[in-house]
């Protein structure tokens, strides 16, 4: 798996401008758009606080959420997994002494480690420069949760990719899934300002461990207990979705006949 991780990192470094756009430019613009929204909110509403937190907390949240959400999403590797199954190139992975799941998990993690190392420099610098609330000593634990959550994301990718054995075109499921998660993770706004019952549902789901919990903890909005709850919630997610992924994958493989592609 480490070899796969190294391979992914090296592949990304081949196209440095793409990597820069992916890790810095994209999240920076996303953060900028969200920050302006919060600035407009506080300027127009005349409120000094929202749910007990002031303007700076929301600016910091918007900035970090844009970057952390990039880390906790999987577009590229899920598409590659689907493509492998659609085109039959999955054969080349099946004959290797590593499972399909591990092969792509290794690559995903390698890519994400590289992405994280590069992209987090921007919010750290901006927070220090603009004096926005952030506790950098909390960063390792926050990132640990995000990376643990990535395993769950990869399991969901396995489920979607395995559907490729049964349906001809499933790329749109990736887009639908990612947009849905985008809404559930707390990238747009801290989930605790959503009205009930959405607030309780959204915070209880494991997807809140992608952005809301790590960023809330990092920006001193949430206590450490929420991170532990996040680990628990993701574990439950893995226990529920893991067997589904295994079942679909095995059923799909039984149905699949390689054509030597």
């Amino acid at each position: 798996m480490l070899g796969c991780a190294r391979l992914a990192a090296l592949q990304q470094l081949e196209y440095r401008f793409n990597l820069l756009a992916d890790t810095m430019i994209q999240p920076f613009v996303v953060g900028l758009v969200e920050i302006t929204l919060w600035m407009a909110f506080f300027a127009s509403s005349g409120q000094a606080e929202l749910a007990g937190f002031g303007r700076e907390y929301y600016l910091s949240y918007a900035l970090w959420a844009a970057f952390i959400s990039r880390v906790s999403t999987s577009w590229m590797y899920e598409s590659l997994m689907i493509q492998d199954i659609e085109l039959g190139t999955v054969n080349s992975v099946l004959v290797r002494p590593i499972s399909f799941f591990e092969y792509y998990l290794g690559q995903l993690m390698g890519y994400k480690v590289l992405t994280t190392a590069i992209s987090l420099m921007a919010p750290i610098t901006l927070c220090l420069f603009l004096d926005l609330p952030v506790s950098l000593s909390r960063l390792p634990l926050a990132l640990a949760l995000t990376f643990y959550y990535l395993i769950l994301v990869h399991v969901i990718s396995m489920i979607i990719a395995s559907l490729g054995f049964f349906f001809t075109r499933i790329h749109h499921l990736t887009v639908a899934k990612n947009i849905t998660l985008w809404m559930l993770t707390g990238e747009f706004f801290p989930l605790d300002i959503a009205p009930e019952p959405f607030k309780s549902i959204l915070t209880a789901l494991p997807f809140s461990s992608a952005v809301f919990r790590p960023v809330g903890y990092l920006t001193e909005r949430l206590p450490v207990s929420t991170i532990y709850e996040g680990f628990l919630s993701v574990t439950i997610g893995l226990l529920v979705l893991g067997p589904v992924a295994a079942l679909l994958w095995n059923a799909g493989r039984r149905r699949y006949s390689g054509t030597g592609a």
């Binding site: 196209y15 756009a21 302006t36």
Partner: protein, 265 residues
């Protein structure tokens, strides 16, 4: 001139029929696309629905007005997705694989072919859904004058032309770079600036999205005009910019083709 219009209309109808037949082969895919966009609509709306629970005004926009803005965004976006998105998204791939050569030898304008060859018929569903949302959100505004919807006949084509031209310009960089994916990523981020009312942005950024990168004409300016929040003067600017940008995209395409070397085998 009439002959040319007839020829291109006939071609477009043929492309539409071919695309429809191709898409009907994968009905699950059509449903997935519609559902995907509905999820995207909900995601976008949820931001404002949550924010407006804590304030009544956001940089001069009320919740009903913001819903109109979002409705216009969805309508314009669905038309863009239907006509251009897939064609322009695949431009880089077509250049890399040499498929562009096949278009260049045809007795039709190559930019037109590149832009309209595939119609994403599934988005007709999204267009209907977003139009229904727009109609509902307009009906929630007491002071709204239905006659103002006529402005849409001008504002939507202007917004679409601007977005098309900018997107085409970014996609056409594929003629110069092996992998222009990064420039496409940047386009999506610029596009995000158009998914918020322009008045929320700081003055300098607002100025930029009205002039340099006029993405505010996608939904923000049309919404202001039909809601009577702004006079039609901005349309003069929008109209001029749309003509200039479409012309620039044509010039850029022709210039790019000069440096294009065939890749097909």
């Amino acid at each position: 001139m009439t002959k040319i219009i007839k020829k291109y209309t006939y071609l477009f109808v043929s492309f539409f029929k071919a695309s429809l037949m191709a898409e009907l082969e994968f009905r699950f895919n059509i449903a997935a696309r519609i559902v995907t966009d509905i999820v995207w609509y909900i995601a976008q709306l949820s931001v404002f629905e949550v924010l407006f629970r804590h304030t009544e005004n956001l940089s001069g926009w009320t919740l009903p007005e913001t819903r109109v803005f979002m409705g216009l965004l969805f309508v314009t976006d669905s038309i863009f997705m239907m006509l251009f998105s897939e064609n322009l998204d695949r431009m880089g791939e077509k250049v890399r694989r040499g498929e562009l050569d096949l278009l260049l030898v045809k007795p039709v304008n190559s930019q037109w072919m590149m832009s309209f060859q595939k119609v994403s018929v599934a988005y007709i569903g999204n267009f209907l859904i977003s139009s229904a949302w727009l109609a509902w959100s307009l009906s929630q505004i007491e002071s709204f004058k239905p006659i103002n919807t006529l402005w849409l006949l001008l504002t939507v084509p202007i917004g679409l032309s601007i977005v098309y031209a900018i997107r085409f310009l970014t996609s056409a960089t594929a003629l110069f770079f092996t992998r222009a994916d990064a420039i496409n990523y940047i386009w999506y981020q610029v596009y995000r600036l158009g998914t918020r009312p322009d008045t929320i942005f700081p003055q300098i950024l607002r100025y930029m999205i009205l002039t340099v990168m006029p993405i505010a004409f996608l939904a923000s300016v049309p919404a202001q005009i039909i809601l009577g929040k702004s006079g039609p003067q901005l349309l003069v600017l929008g109209g001029t910019l749309s003509i200039l940008l479409v012309y620039a995209s044509s010039r850029f395409w022709k210039y790019g083709l000069k440096s294009y070397s065939s890749a097909s085998s």
